[in-house]
Every structure is written in C-alpha cells, then in structure tokens.
Amino acid sequence: MAETIIKLENIVKKFYIGKPNELEILHKISLEVKKGEFVSIVGPSGSGKSTLMNLIGILDRPTEGTYVLDGIDVSKAADKELSAIRNKKIGFVFQTYNLISRTNALKNVELPMLYAGIGKSERVKKAKELLELVEMGDRAKHLPEELSGGQKQRVAIARAMANDPAILLADEPTGALDSKTGRLVMDLFHKLNKEKGITIVLITHSNELASETGRIITIRDGNILSESKGGKA
C-alpha cells in the first residue's frame, strides 16, 4: 500500500468571516492522495476548485479541518514554516507559466533551490539535469520571452521539480496552450508520473484531460460530487 501524501479531513473554507456576506466556499471536504498517483480535480468555475488548490498548495489556510502534507500537519504550521514547506514539498505549475521574465531558463529553475539555500554549483547542476529531463537543455540560456508557450511551460515544470517536491500541483497547465503543445505538456506529466513516480495533482475544467489521469475528483458547489477512475489505470 502506497503511503498517503495528501490528507484533507473535513476542510471548511469561509470568506468574510463574521461579516454579513460570510461565504462558505468549501463544505467539509475530505480527500486523500497516495504517493505516485496522478489525480485530477475537475469542476466548473465557481465550484471551489481554485480555493481547494490554494489550500493544497498552502497558499491559503483552511478555516476548519486538518491538512497533512507528506506527514506534516500544515494546518497548524506557522506562517514562516509555510514558505519552507511550499518551497520543499510543492511544485507549482501555473496556467500562465509565471517565469521570472528578466532571468533565463536556467536561473528560473534554480530559483526554488536558491530559496532553499542550496549552493551555486549544486543548483546549476540540478537545474541543467531538470532542463534535460523536460528536453529544454539546449535552451538553458534563453530568456522566457525567447521561448514558445509550450517551452515556457516545460521550463516551469522543471522549476516545479527543483526541490524534489512531494507533489506537483498543476493549475490548468495547458489552458494557455494550443491542443498540440498542450498534448506535449500532458505527455511530459505522464512521463514524469510513470518514470519518476511523481505525485501529480492536476486542476482543470476539462473532462477530456481529466480522463487521462488515474483518478478524477469532481467538485461542485464546494462539495466533492464524485470520484471515478480515469482512463489511465
């Protein structure tokens, strides 16, 4: 039995607490993700999937409930610890890539390692390996503006993996790409999942993409509507 990486228990998220317009976005959500899984979270906009993603990515804290990430009870961690946990345990992949525009691909991949306090030579070595892995080794010195959308996203994926995180958290990673390059990015995720055994949580509104993953979690109106096996078994 694979170990549990993400364990959400009775997570409630409210906004505008104590105000007349208090809003409960997530209603007692419980969710588990095992190591090596490729899970997709789907749902229409307004369903609460972005809020859920922010909680999984510990960019935000739940109002109620507990969240244990790779054995650490994140819901009780102090603000300062959260930065370090994000840095080491989570690899973000954004829809808009969010590369630092003034620095080249290599520097972008180095960035999480820099925040982790890793020395220069080790950073460069690891960053180069990761760029090779995403087949961007020959573009290490290119600035983001010199790369196509698909290339940018591959650099972003390399960056997300810099500190060997417990999970890759991808938010609509193909949303800004055409279907062909989107396909390449999805293939890369499958490759990383299969060959490297990386746990991936994919947030998308596309059922088509979700169907490729091992497990589909559908969110609607702040509740988990259903869980089903994806196409990839």
Partner: protein, 427 residues
C-alpha cells in the same frame, strides 16, 4: 551569504531591464549627492587654502592693523580693514616707522621679525618686444622670515640694499621665462625697466624665486600673461609712493613665545599711541586664531548650504520610493510566484531593499564623481587648489545607502506582505 549576492545580481538585472527609468530615478540622488560633495569640496578647499596661506606666513605670526573704532572689537574688521575701509586713513592716523622701532626694541626677546609690505602697484616689465606682468611690492627683511619663498637663483636683499633702498629686485621664474628665455644666470645682475602706472623705474635683479602655477585664473591665461609678485626694498618703494606710514604689518614671534600673549602685549603697546584717537585703534591678532575663526565661519556656511543640498537628496529619496512602489505593482505576479516557490516575506523584503539601495548607491557614486569634478572646477575658478572632502565622500556614500534602505523599506515591506493568492492572480 548566498542570498545577498544573488539579490545584488538580481537588482542589477532588473535595473538593466529598465535603464531609462533607473537613470531618471538615480538623477535625484545624483543631483543631491553631487551638490553636497561639490559644496563640501569648495568649503574644505577654501578652509584649506586659507589656513595654508596663513600658515605660510607662519602660524605663530601676528597680524597687526589699524581698524576703525567700532563698538565691536572683532577680528573680521581687522582682516578686512585694509581692503574694505571706506575712507582712506589719513597719514597721521597710521602707524609710523618710529612706533615699529620702539615695538621691536621693547619686545626684542619675543619678536623675531617685523614684516612690512608697501603695495607699489601692478606694472609691466618690457624688454624689446617681450614683456612680463608683475605686482610690485616693497618689503623689508622680515618678509622672507614670515613667507615661504623658494629661490632658484640669487637670494634675498642685502642689509645695505634695504637700508639704502637700492634699486634691486627679486622676480619670479615666470619673469625670467618671459624676458630671459628661462636663463636664471643671465637674469641675475640684469637691469629691467618697470612701468607702474606710467612711472618708470629701473631695477637690477638679485634673486629669482620659483613660481608655481596653481590657480585657475593663472591657468586660463597664457603663461606669459601671468602676473607675479616682484619684490623691491621697502625704502626703494616708499621713495616712489611716499607711503611713509603703515596701515598694517606682521610680527613673527620667536620660537617658544606664546603668540596670543604677544598679540595682547602689542595691543597694549599701541593703545598708548591711540588712546586719544577717536576714529582708529590698532588690533593685533594671532594667525592661528584667525585661521580657526575663518575656518569655523566657512564651515558654518558650508554646512548651511549642504543642508539645502541635503533636501535635494531627500527629494531624490522620495523619487526612489515612488519608483519602487511602481515597480512592485508591476511585479506583483513575480512576487506571487516567488512566494509560491518558497520565498519568505523576509527574502522578498531584502530583494527590494537591495534594489533600492543599489539605485541609491550607483546614483551616489555617479553624484560623487560629478560632485568632486564640479567642486574642483569651482575651487579652481575661485583660484585655490581643490581638496576633495574625504569626510564628505564617506558620509554621502553611507547616506545614500541609508536613503536606499529608508525609502526602500516601505515599498519592500508592502511587497513582502502581499498575499500570494492575490499576487498570483494580479493582471
């Protein structure tokens, strides 16, 4: 620390990405620092020049001059006495040679020499088509005791030259250059004709002193047009000018004599002569005290102007803060991304503080260079050698970094406290 070095490099990349903006932002700092440094350089140079000038007359020298009787017995009127006196002092109010003789007699143990100078006037020496401009001054033997003059040929006047007021002269190396092709030996013993305001007089050269061109006024004209001092015996000079009495003179104190006390003794000595004079009195002041006084006066003025220049620096600092706020807004997503990648609030804060500091420091260095050049130019224009103010340089560099930290802190803190979710979604 790895982070700090990375932050410095990062700051440079982001400044280079926006060169024009960075330059304009720096401009405020550049102007502020440049003006502070320029003013301090001019001030320091002025103090330095005055003290050197006065020290070259000897720090132990005492300046004695006639001054109008005013309510305030201050040194300033003494110093300016000669130059700024409105009414010419009548001959009977002046100091007589007899008084000087008595003074020398009474304090012969304390006084090493008494220097008197008779301003004969400015003139021109001509020799065929060649000419040299000079200021002619009648001097006594004490002059070379109190003033540093380096002879390159010949020497000082003999006792008989002075006593008899012989027509002999000591000229500068410039004069020799212009009239004798720089041949000092040929110049010695030669007779020159000097035209001072239509009065012609002939002198035999007995000494040549080295003249070093150092002020801007000299540098800006042809070497042959530079006016230099030409010294003739005091008696030879007053034979022409008939300035038998003096308005001022210098006293060189013997080694080991407290010139402050001597100055008071001289004051008291002359009080005997001037007790009943309603208009004038004689004041004696120690050079050292005068140097200090002038120094503190110039220092006060410099400080006052520097404060005004400091305000320019403050405005520059506000400019830096403003542009940092703009930059942070523009880079909201970057900040969000960095936070998602594990940047702590502290590391975001440091990043932007370092950036503001680098702007200020580069601006400070550019301003420093411009300030030194400007100060040097101004000092030379005013005619004295420039001395870059070391304390000014150090303070302004430290100050510009402090400005960077101070005005960078608020924007940096704002960036650090951004909510990563909002920052990531920022369009």
């Amino acid at each position: 620390m790895v982070m700090l070095w990375e932050n410095i490099k990062l700051a440079f990349t982001s400044l280079l990405a926006n060169k024009m903006r960075a330059l304009l932002t720096m401009l405020g700092i550049i102007i502020g620092i440049a003006s502070v440094i320029a003013i301090m350089t001019v001030g320091d140079s002025l103090i330095n020049y005055i003290s050197e000038e006065m020290n070259s007359m000897g720090a132990n020298n005492i300046m004695v001059s006639i001054q109008p009787r005013t309510d305030e017995d201050n040194m300033f009127s003494t110093m300016m006495g000669g130059a700024m006196m409105m009414d010419p002092i009548s001959d009977q109010d002046k100091i007589t040679p007899e008084m000087l003789e008595k003074l020398a007699e009474q304090y012969k143990d304390e006084i090493k020499a008494i220097t008197v100078v008779d301003e004969n006037g400015s003139g021109q020496i001509t020799k065929g088509t060649d000419y040299a401009n000079v200021y002619v001054a009648g001097i006594n033997i004490g002059y070379f005791v109190s003033t540093d003059v380096e002879f390159v040929a010949g020497g000082v006047f003999s006792e008989r030259d002075l006593e008899e007021g012989r027509p002999v002269a000591i000229v500068s190396s410039i004069v020799v250059e212009n009239l004798f092709g720089g041949d000092n030996e040929k110049a010695l013993g030669s007779t020159i004709e000097v035209d001072t305001n239509g009065k012609f007089a002939e002198y035999t050269i007995v000494g040549v002193y080295d003249y070093v061109v150092q002020n801007m006024a000299d540098m800006m004209q042809a070497r042959k047009d530079i006016s230099t001092n030409m010294y003739i015996p005091y008696r030879a000079s007053i034979n022409q000018t008939h300035n038998d009495n003096f308005t001022n003179f210098y006293v060189v104190a013997n080694n080991g004599v407290d010139s402050d006390i001597l100055a008071k003794q001289i004051d008291r000595f002359f009080e005997g002569y001037y007790r009943n004079n309603e208009d004038y009195q004689v004041g004696a002041f120690n050079m050292q005290t005068m140097v200090e006084m002038v120094g503190s006066m110039v220092g006060m003025v410099t400080t006052a102007i520097s404060i005004v220049a400091g305000i320019a620096l403050l405005v520059g600092g506000i400019g830096v803060m403003n542009i940092m706020l703009v930059s942070i807004t523009e880079r909201t997503r970057e900040i969000g991304t960095r936070k998602a990648l594990g940047a702590t609030n502290g590391s975001i804060r440091i990043q932007f503080i370092v950036e503001a500091m680098i702007i200020c420091l580069i601006g400070g260095i550019i301003g420093l260079i411009l300030g030194i050049l400007g100060g040097q130019f101004a000092a030379n224009l005013l005619g004295y050698p420039a001395v870059p103010s070391i304390s000014g340089i150090v303070t302004s560099l430290i100050f510009s970094m402090i400005i960077g930290v101070f005005f960078g802190y608020y924007p940096a803190n704002k960036a650090a406290k951004m909510n990563p979710i909002d920052a990531l979604r920022y369009e």
